[in-house]
Each structure stands twice: as C-alpha cells, then as structure tokens.
Amino acid sequence: MIEVDLRRAGSGCMDNPVAVLSAYIERKLPLKILVTEEYRPLVKEILEIGGYTIEREEKARGYYILLAQVKTSSTVAKGAFPL
C-alpha cells in the first residue's frame, strides 16, 4: 500500500490532488491517503472516477485517512459532474 500525503495539496498545476493522485491511480496501486477536510470530497470523487473503492475512512487529528483499493472492472463507476 502506497501512502499519499495530500495534507499540503494546493490548487497549482502539480500540487493539486488530481495531479498527485492520478499518477498513482493509473498504476492501480492500493492507496493510503492523508487528506484535509477541504479536499476530502474531491479526493473521494477522483477515487470513484479512477475505479477505486474506499475500504476505510478514519478521522485523525486535523485530517482524514482513506484506505482505497481498485474495484473490479465490472463495478467501476462512470460518474459525471452535475450541471
């Protein structure tokens, strides 16, 4: 399991959660993600789109820990943004 610390994620080109997480998601690695409240919904959305399932979610001191695994291909979500 790879630990991805997004507690200092920003909104710039390479430090945003999408840029950081997509590199791992494309390699289909099991992930342990540390993330702040602000980016937690976005991270969950990225994981969903990337075909991951969140197996455990824990609240730590000032941040969250998400444990995520790749779903089987038949259960990959095809979510869309609401307009």
């Binding site: 909104s11 710039g12 080109c13 945003n16 999408v18 307009l83």
Partner: protein
C-alpha cells in the same frame, strides 16, 4: 491536409497548444537528419562537418531574423521564452536605479512578472502593475497611466495565455517612448500565431519559444535591438562567447565575441535551432496570416458552446485561439483529467498566471487552445467528451 503531418494527432484531440504544440514530420525529420548527417560542434572545428553544422546554426539565426523582421546579429538563441525574459532582465538591470519603476500587467505569465519583480527589488525600484478590464483583457489605458518619467522598463505580453486577448502594443509603446522607457514584449503566445515585425511594433526586446510554434523544446529566441545587446554585459561566460582571452601582466583579459554569439556561451542546441528553422519554413508555407483567423473561428465556436452549457468563459473581445472557462463546483483539474481519459487534452489550473485568476476571483480554469492543425472535428469531439463528463 495539415493533420497528416502530425502522426501524434491520429488518436487524440490536442487542445493544449498554448502550453506546447505538436511537431510535424518535417521538423522531426530535420532534427533526425541533423544528427544523422551533420552533427558536430559549431564555431570550433575546421573540418567540413563542423563547417556544415556551423552553417546550419547560423542559417537558423537568419531564418528567425527574417521571420520577425530583424537582423540576424540581434537574434540570440536561448532555451525558451522564460530564459529569454530572464536574460532581458539581466541586460536591462543597469538601467534601473532606486526610485525608478518598472511597469508590467496583472495578466502576465509568471515568466514576464517574476524577473521584473526581482529586478525591482534588487534595485530599490517599484513594480507598477497595470490592471485588466472586467473580462480579463489588458486595460491599455491603465497600463499607460502607470508610465511616467521614472519608468525605465515596460514589460507586457503580446497575447494572453488565459484570455487570448491581443494587447494593443503600439499604444503602450507610444507612451513608453515618450519617457524613454525600454519595451519588452512577451511573444510566447503571439509569434506562433500572427505575422510579426519587430520594427513595426516598435518594441525593443521580444522573447518567444520554438516549441509553441511547431519547433522542438529547448530552443527559444531573445531578440533585442543591437544597441542594447552591444552595451549589455553577457550573462553566461565561457566558450564561444569570447573572441580572445589573454593573460597579460598577471591578469585575465577577455574580449567578448561579436553579436549574437556574445550571449550564447557554451555548446548551443544546434539540433533545436535546425528544428526551429524547419518549423518556421513550415509555418511560412502554411501562411502566417491564415493562422489566427482559423484559430479564432474555432475558439469562438468553442466559447459559444461552453456558454450554452452554463460555463463562464474568461475573456471577450479580440480573442485569439485560447478559451479558458470555469464553473463553480467543478474542479478544473478533475474535469481536465476526465477529458484526458476521453483523449481530449486540455490544460487546467492557473496556466502560470495566478495573479490574473486572483484578480478575476476564479479558482483555476480549464483551457482549450487551438493551433493550425485543429479543425471543427476537434471542437465537436471536445464537446462530445465534455457532455459525457458533465451532465
């Protein structure tokens, strides 16, 4: 059929041309041929291969000079626009004294903002920042109002990589010249798209990148008026930028080389220069005057379609081939990622223009930017993908 020259475009919709452009087979072949047939260091060897390599490199300077209406001795090859603008700030440093000011705009790419910010700090000068109109386009009148007798440098973009707005440079140059200020133009987003004549524009320095105009990465251009280059101290010291180095009375005494070599220390990117030369020939065969109208048509259709879908489009009048858009509650990076999964390549974030986004109160945007090889089919495929990920 332009697209046939770009094999990489077979399977993707590439709309990130403001970041870098794809390379046609002709450019790739020119670089390959250089390494296969002509590779040798320049300005050093006396054997035929070295002579040929030198000839190609010098020819590339002449071709670039012809492309922008300049003299070859005024064309300095650098890595990219960023390096060109940083070099420009070095060249002009002695002009700036405490109490002077440097005028920029809030719309600048970080590359045309930070070197001037640093120069102002170093010299105890002030950085004055011209603002944008409500639609994000540069307000030339506001820029002009910032120029006064203490202005030494005015550094502006020719075209925005966010709004696509094309600055009315002549208006700004007119005011800058009244007070004797040097005008530096960031041509990264204009030189690839419109015919350029540096003398017609009246600017003193122009920087642009090869990779944004079908050329390879790692080769860019700094053009500066001869007087500026002659007076300035070289930034990098070493081989090729000196004519002679003597050891006289216990001292090292260098004699700088002629222009432009005085500013091109060390072994240069010869293959890059050859690739850039071929890219320019490609663009000239296509017709520089045709590029912007073609992109504008695609950009306008894209902007209208986006507005119909409820997106906010940054920018308005005088749009080039750039469309940046956003919507509350849609993360730009996530949208770009999802479009990427559908083989549509767009940029997301601040596009290296964070202060502009802050002034416009936009927390990042998605950007589609067009070039000569894009067509209506690309726009259609972009919207197909967008509609699939945004419902």
């Amino acid at each position: 059929m332009v697209k046939e020259d770009f094999p990489i475009l077979q399977d993707i919709v590439y709309l990130d041309n403001a970041a870098t452009t794809q390379k046609p087979l002709q450019v790739i072949e020119a670089i390959r041929n250089y390494y296969l047939l002509h590779n040798a260091n320049i300005h050093r060897g006396v054997y035929p291969l070295a002579r040929k390599s030198t000839d190609l490199y010098e020819e590339a300077h002449r071709v670039v000079a012809g492309f922008i209406g300049a003299r070859a001795e005024e064309v300095v090859f650098v890595r990219n626009t960023t390096e060109g603008l940083n070099l420009a700030s070095h060249l002009l440093e002695p002009l700036v004294r405490a109490g002077d000011n440097i005028v920029v705009t809030i719309s600048e790419h970080h590359s045309n903002l930070l070197p001037w910010w640093r120069l102002a700090r170093r010299r105890g000068a002030r950085l004055r920042i011209g603002m944008v109109r409500e639609d994000g386009s540069i307000d030339e009148e506001d820029v002009i109002s910032k120029i006064d007798e203490s202005t030494r440098i005015v550094a502006v973009q020719h075209a925005s990589n966010v709004t696509g707005y094309i600055t009315d440079v002549r208006k700004i140059v007119k005011q800058a010249k009244k007070v004797g200020a040097v005008v530096v133009l960031d041509g990264a987003q204009s030189v690839p798209h419109v015919p350029i004549d540096v003398n017609g524009l009246g600017v003193d320095i122009l920087a642009f990148s090869g990779h944004k105009m079908l050329g390879p990465m790692g080769i860019g251009v700094l053009w500066a008026r001869k007087e500026i280059l002659e007076e300035a101290e070289p930034f990098l010291l070493g081989g090729d930028m000196i004519k002679e180095v003597h050891y006289t009375n216990g001292e090292i005494v260098p004699l700088w080389n002629e222009l432009p070599w005085k500013f091109e220390a060390g072994t240069p990117n010869v293959a890059g220069a050859v690739g850039l030369m071929e890219a320019i020939r490609y663009l000239e065969r296509f017709g520089m005057e045709k590029i912007l109208p073609h992109e504008k048509k695609l950009a306008t259709a894209t902007a209208e379609g986006l507005e119909d879908m409820g997106f906010n489009v940054i920018g308005g009048e005088r749009r080039g081939g750039v469309v940046a858009f956003w919507k509350e509650d849609i993360d730009p990076h996530l949208l770009a990622y999802r479009l990427g999964q559908k083989k549509v390549c767009v940029r997301s974030g601040y596009h290296c223009a964070q202060p502009l986004h802050e002034v416009l109160e936009v927390r990042g945007s998605i950007r589609a930017s067009f070039y000569l090889y894009n067509d209506e089919d690309d726009v259609e495929r972009f919207f197909e993908a967008l509609r699939e990920v945004v419902r």
